[in-house]
Amino acid sequence: MKTPIVLTLAILAQAIGNTCLSKGMKNIAALSSTENGFFLRMILHAMGDPTLWLGTLLLILFFILFAAALSWADLSFVIPVISFGYIVNVALAHQFLDEPVSSMRWLGTGFIFLGVILVSRTGSRRTAAADNPIQRSPAR
């Protein structure tokens, strides 16, 4: 039960975080880049943008949840399952960033969805050869 909860929270944190970052960075791109000291101004602007802070914090949260899941689950399980976040990403980009999403992109998200369903049916437990005492213990 721990794995689905942690991975669902990770997926949501990553998708919302990415959307915030994209919104924030587009604002920065709108600054004039021809003047001197553009890079410095860009960093100062980024530091004062709450959308970028929120996006960054959400991605840190994603990372903590992701690393925690990797402490007990296969990388080859966690990674495809996390790809469900791409569907959430496309939906959020469509909804909040006004990016056009073609029917081909929606079809692609359907494939990703099916792929995640298949991988999630393989179970998250470790398959790697034992290289630490926890894995070797017959009690587990």
């Binding site: 990415n18 007990w72 990388l75 791409y86 073609s102 081909m104 999630s120």
Partner: protein
Amino acid sequence: MLTAVMITIIVLSNAAGDVLISRGMKCIGEVSTLHPRKLLTIGLQIITNRDFLLGVFSLAISFFSFLAVLTWADMSFVVPATSVYYVVSILGAKFILGERISRLRWAGTVLVCVGVALICLP
């Protein structure tokens, strides 16, 4: 062209980071507590683990490349395009971490890839 180079950098550093972090976390063992003191101890172990730190460094390269590319490209293009890293990471999981990838897992991963390719079509 610049976008393609950036996406390659994002993919490779992301996959390397994941493999390193996975190795580091497996070395530390299952995190199965919400007790603050125990979490603090685990946290200290994690931030002094060499594989984990290298993984974080690798992911940082990926992250800043991602931020840069978002200034000129659509997120709903960049994000799916960089998800090619799933295949690279799974190859890493198989050949570096020694995970056994079942046929079902491969099938699911291939479907994810087809989905990514479709998303990346203009």
